[in-house]
């Protein structure tokens, strides 16, 4: 506390003091921080259960002070189904990257959303596989170079990038679906509100809540953190437009 000053912002206590291993400027850490802020503000730290993926955020449970389960690659939505069906009164969320959710886990993701499983999915889309060293993801942009698309992603050969928020929003079991970004303070504050909305709608038992978070990867995009902001704004957001794709609570107004 400082005499003569009021506190405007400090990191949430629900975010453990363990140093996060993410690269400097990686949006994963921002998202971890936001989720934990929301958990703290909503007072659900003692109830919530998270499911971590395989990918850069495999160690999410080292940073978030809540009960956690580690899922096999792609299976977080199945694991979360098991948890929520066993503990229907506890808030449950998955935290997944683009390989985990849209490649190996696509079936589990789509079916959980189709069933309207009552947990929240936080999907980090940075158009690349980070942990394994920068391979192409289902969300890699056309023409984007990765280690498995060294000449740029060629849609004629490997298909177009997948727009998960749009696909998921078509499923009747989904209660809330939005795409957000963490590329500037305005968007970060907006994203925090969206995270909270997901947990609120989860608590209403209306169905699956899905938040796609357009993110960066300084190391594998081969860009400094500040330069990644250009790629996010000029490339990612042009293909992955932000906004609410579905909101059953708004439809009834």
């Amino acid at each position: 506390m400082k005499e003569g000053y009021t506190l405007v912002y400090k990191r949430p206590d629900t975010l453990l003091k363990t140093r996060m291993h993410y690269c400097p400027g990686c949006f994963h850490s921002i998202l971890h921080k936001l989720i934990m802020e929301v958990v703290e503000e909503m007072g659900i730290q003692n109830d919530v259960i998270g499911v971590s993926p395989v990918g850069c955020s495999v160690f999410a449970y080292d940073y978030m002070d809540v009960d956690f389960q580690e899922a096999a690659h792609g299976r977080a939505c199945a694991v979360a189904t098991g948890i929520k069906r066993t503990l229907p009164n506890k808030p449950v969320f998955t935290y997944q990257g683009d390989g985990d959710l849209a490649a190996i886990g696509l079936a589990e993701t789509m079916h959980a959303c189709n069933r309207g499983e009552k947990f929240s999915i936080f999907f980090v889309n940075n158009a690349i596989y980070g942990m394994t060293g920068g391979q192409m993801a289902p969300t890699t942009l056309e023409g984007q170079t990765t280690t498995t698309s060294p000449y740029g992603r060629d849609p004629k050969n490997v298909g177009y990038p997948m727009k998960m928020a749009e696909m998921v929003s078509q499923l009747p079991g989904v209660a809330y679906c939005e795409r957000v970004c963490l590329n500037n303070p305005v968007n970060v504050r907006k994203a925090k509100k969206s995270i909270r909305r997901c947990f609120e709608i989860q608590a209403m038992n209306l169905g699956t809540t899905f938040l796609e978070v357009v993110s960066n990867c300084p190391t594998n995009w081969r860009l400094s953190p500040i330069k990644t902001l250009d790629f996010v704004e000029n490339n990612m957001l042009k293909y992955y437009p932000l906004g609410v794709k579905k909101d059953v609570t708004a439809e009834n107004k």
Binding site: Q69, R75, V79, T81, I83, T86
Partner: protein, 367 residues
């Protein structure tokens, strides 16, 4: 028969009896996928959840989109503190191996049943015993074991399934009921066990303080993981698992011997094969041949001690192992016998069960 918690004696199909036994054991969650020859399990459980009159309010059944998904739902639900089961048949069991490796490494108690069918590949829906290796040696990656029960009757399916949940809790590991398509489909008289009421959320929380059910007023959060990225942590985990397995080997071996005390020829067989072999023993005894059967009931932990005893007996001339595969358990028999006596093998595949006479012919040819 439909789920009926009142019935004490019934004439039931193996798969349905498995489902009924699990319900009576206070199962709280079942996640599975249809596959012949065991689809009756999930059908029975889905029928039991009648929305107009739900007699099992604390039980959830969900048809998953695949076996891969099923085993991961089991992981999540069991790690959250539930009494959880899945069932499948051989090709589905292959799909579950990754999930089983994760469950075993993370010390998660759960029950799995594999109602074996012929393989390899898509195979046939006929029964087989072709998944012994996969079940006992670890079909998934890494060094782990499952406690494996091999019932040979519908009654045994009921008894072992009913006890499996508590046994899994005792050892914090998966328990596998290794059945086959014939046992799954056959109908026999069963005595059904007393139903245990399903646990409430508070009871589950008290019983399993390690489960991820919300931090509550615990000081530390609970983490269920099989990730041990540092070498010393991975070695430590492996050593802990091995320590646990040594204890299980000391306490949980089950087997049956049949007319083996004075036998000169020992048949080893499990599950369905063991029933035909019993008949072969009876026919042989009528003819004055001293043949007996050693039937492992737990395939892991394997009954090494009893087989070792017979291998050491001077009057035992040889062993013959009979399976519905091309030779899997026979390797474990040979390991224990360790060259002291010949160990022969006779097997049929494709769902074909050797007759008692056929087995006796094989034995006579070796005499």
């Amino acid at each position: 028969m439909e789920a009926d918690v009142e019935k004490k004696i019934a004439f039931m199909k193996g798969n349905e009896a498995l489902a009924e036994a699990a319900l009576r054991a206070g199962m709280t969650g079942y996640f599975g996928y249809p596959i012949t020859p065991q689809t009756e399990v999930i059908e029975y459980l889905c029928k039991a959840k009648n929305p107009a009159d739900d007699k099992y309010p604390k039980f959830t059944v969900l048809q998953a989109e695949s076996e891969v998904s099923s085993i991961n739902m089991v992981y999540g639900a069991a790690a959250a503190g539930g009494r959880i089961m899945t069932t499948t048949s051989s090709p589905g069991f292959s799909l579950m191996q990754e999930g089983i490796s994760y469950i075993a490494c993370a010390d998660i108690p759960c029950v799995i049943a594999n109602v074996q069918r012929g393989g390899p590949g898509l195979g046939t829906i006929q029964p087989s015993q072709g998944d012994y290796f996969q079940s006992v040696k670890g079909g998934g990656h890494g060094d782990y074991k499952l406690i494996v029960f091999a019932p040979n009757s519908v009654q045994e399916v009921v008894d072992y399934t009913y006890n499996a949940f508590d046994l899994a809790n005792k050892w914090m590991c998966p328990v596998l009921i290794l059945s086959d398509g014939a046992i799954g489909q056959m109908m026999e008289k069963v005595v059904l066990p007393e139903p245990i009421p399903a646990r409430t959320a508070d009871e589950m929380r008290d019983e399993k303080p390690w489960a991820t059910n919300g931090k509550g007023n615990r000081k530390q959060r609970n983490i269920i993981t099989s990730l041990n990225i540092q070498s010393d942590a991975m070695e430590r985990r492996n050593n802990e698992l091995q320590e646990k397995y040594r204890k299980i080997e000391a306490e949980e071996v089950r087997y049956e011997t049949y007319k083996a005390d004075d036998a000169e020829i020992i048949i080893t067989a499990y599950g369905l094969s063991s029933r035909v072999c019993k008949k072969a023993v009876d026919i042989a005894r009528e003819k004055g041949l001293k043949i007996g059967l050693v039937r492992p009931i737990t395939l892991w932990p394997f009954p090494t001690k009893i087989i070792d005893e017979f291998a050491a007996k001077p009057n035992v001339k040889f062993f013959i192992d009979v399976e519905m595969n091309v030779g899997q358990m026979v390797e474990d028999v040979k390991l224990v016998v360790n060259g002291r006596k010949p160990v022969y093998f006779y097997g049929r595949t494709g769902g074909i069960l050797a007759t008692a006479e056929e087995i006796l012919e094989q034995i006579k040819a070796k005499m």
